[in-house]
């Protein structure tokens, strides 16, 4: 029965399951400790076994895209910062890259390297959070999970400190502007960053021991929530979740942007596509991102950080008529910005393609046949950020 359920149409009529079974409909969320924000799954349970899962999102909808149509181009970066609130740097980057593409604006080399550096550091911070919250989902807020979580936060703090030193804020940076960056590195930042990278690299084996090398963790994750590569591609799943399913796809290497064409990006993949593969890809990507960050830090060229022409009224910056799509690799996958400009100082339409939404769309296919405990592990391993899903 289990094997059969896994491949069926997720929108199957419940009566087709077993007319004898008395199914229990359980609203899992929005106010639930482990749904990573306000996300709701309607689970149809036969005992503890999930027969059907219907995800509902939209509880955190803030009309970001509509807001973007009302504000001037230069005012948009702080708005999109709040989408994926765990990785704001990459949000901004995807947005300004779309503007630059239509404006045909060149970005100085130093700014491009800075952008890549920030993106990699952000990826480390984001993956640390993902591992920590996954551990909480598995180990509970009052148990071993919190210990992993707290340790991950300790390291994430180092990176937030670095960003604070550059931009003055810890979370919503607003540092990317059209044509370059707003803030240059302060004095002594390189050394601070080097130290942080060294510390995190030294402590990585600790997380390995607490998570991917832990027998309980392995038992909970292996062969659970298998998402095969074919289905993942069909659903538009990207990022670590796709790479864990054995598809070798990374925009940093396949469609380089910023400074990624100047360095070699090693893409981490895993074959099994289960929760464990997703966790292991994230842990290994931290290592890779640390290496890349160091690389960008060492090779950082001198020069100006902004190639934009000085304007009297930045708010009046007009983008010529046209449309473009720019996709970048955020910690969660492909974050796309589709911009339609009508020649005024506000976008005509700005569509954001969030990676998390597509990850979540795998849930109805993956969940049936698992237990409630597995549902939490699967949701945690997909690492969705509701701010990005609902926008």
């Amino acid at each position: 029965m289990t094997a059969l359920l896994r491949r069926v149409d997720p929108y199957l009529k419940i009566e087709a399951y077993d007319p004898e079974a008395e199914l229990m409909l359980l609203h899992f969320g929005p106010q639930h400790p482990s749904t990573h924000g306000v996300f709701r799954m309607d689970l149809y349970l036969d005992g503890e076994l999930i027969v059907k899962a219907v995800p509902h999102c939209g509880y955190l909808h803030r009309a970001v895209e509509k807001l973007c149509e009302k504000l001037a181009y230069v005012q948009l970066t702080p708005i999109v910062d709040k989408n994926d609130y765990v990785a704001p740097m990459t949000n901004e980057l995807a947005l300004v890259m779309a503007f630059e593409a239509l404006l045909k604006q060149d970005v100085p080399r130093r700014a491009r390297w800075l952008r890549s550096l920030f993106a990699e550091l952000q990826r480390v911070a984001s993956h640390l959070l993902a591992i920590g919250t996954l551990a909480i989902d598995l180990g509970g807020a009052l148990g071993g999970g919190t210990t992993v979580f707290m340790h991950c936060f300790r390291e994430r703090e180092l990176i937030l400190d670095l960003f604070e030193a550059v931009t003055g804020s810890r979370f919503h940076y607003n540092t990317h502007t059209i044509g370059g960056n707003r803030h240059d590195l302060p004095e002594g930042w390189a050394k601070q960053a080097k130290d942080a990278i060294r510390v995190i690299r030294e402590r990585l084996p600790e997380y390995g021991a607490l998570t991917i090398e832990n027998r309980i963790f392995q038992q909970r994750m292996q062969k659970v929530g298998v998402l095969d590569g074919e289905l993942a591609l069909e659903l538009g799943v990207t990022g670590p979740n796709l790479r864990a399913s054995g598809v070798d796809h990374d925009l940093r290497r396949d469609a380089p942007y910023a400074a990624y064409d100047e360095v070699k990006v090693n893409v981490v993949t895993a074959q099994t596509g289960d929760c464990f593969a997703r966790a292991i890809v994230r842990v290994k990507e931290i290592e890779e991102s640390l290496r890349l960050a160091e690389c960008f830090l060492d090779g950082l060229p001198e020069g100006p950080i902004n190639g934009g022409k000085p304007t009297k009224m930045a708010v009046q910056t007009k983008v010529p008529v046209g449309q473009t799509y720019v996709g970048i690799e955020t910690p969660r996958g492909e974050l796309g910005t589709w911009l339609v400009a009508d020649g005024t100082h506000t976008p005509y339409r700005l569509k954001i393609r969030p990676a998390s939404l597509h990850s979540l769309s795998a849930l109805p296919y993956v969940l049936p046949g698992h237990t409630v405990s597995d549902a939490i592990a699967i949701l945690g391993s997909l690492d969705p950020i509701m701010g990005e899903v609902d926008r």
Partner: protein, 119 residues
């Protein structure tokens, strides 16, 4: 010395502790004048509960429950013997041993059949 009475006294103390906490709470606790339906409905992650929780619950471990009954009876037989292992010696050992061996054969058979798998 059987200590039935002492045990009774202990149980009374335990009850008194639990009871006094309940009474203390009754005196100290805040009493709300609002008792809306929504407030006293059960928690289902902030959604309106869909139906009652009193459903025919598919307990997948009923085989395990049967096993429990078997093994618990086994231990019930073992308990009186356990205190006099020295006295009954080899004879007792053989008797209890044959019983346990039969039971464990059943265990092996069941685990071969996969009865000890949850799903």
């Amino acid at each position: 010395m059987t200590s039935g009475l002492a045990l009774l006294a202990f149980l009374m103390v335990a009850t008194a502790v639990a009871g006094s906490m309940l009474i203390g709470a009754r005196i100290l606790r805040v009493v709300s004048t609002k008792n809306e339906r929504l407030k006293t409905s059960t928690y289902e992650c902030g959604e309106v509960p869909s139906g009652m929780a009193w459903v025919r619950f598919h307990a997948r471990y009923y085989v395990v429950a049967l096993f429990f009954v078997l093994f618990d009876i086994e231990t019930a037989f073992l308990l009186p013997w356990a205190t006099i292992v020295r006295e009954v010696g080899v004879r007792g050992l053989v008797a209890v041993g044959s019983f346990v061996v039969v039971l464990m054969l059943g265990w092996v058979w069941a685990s071969r059949k996969g009865a000890l798998q949850w799903q």
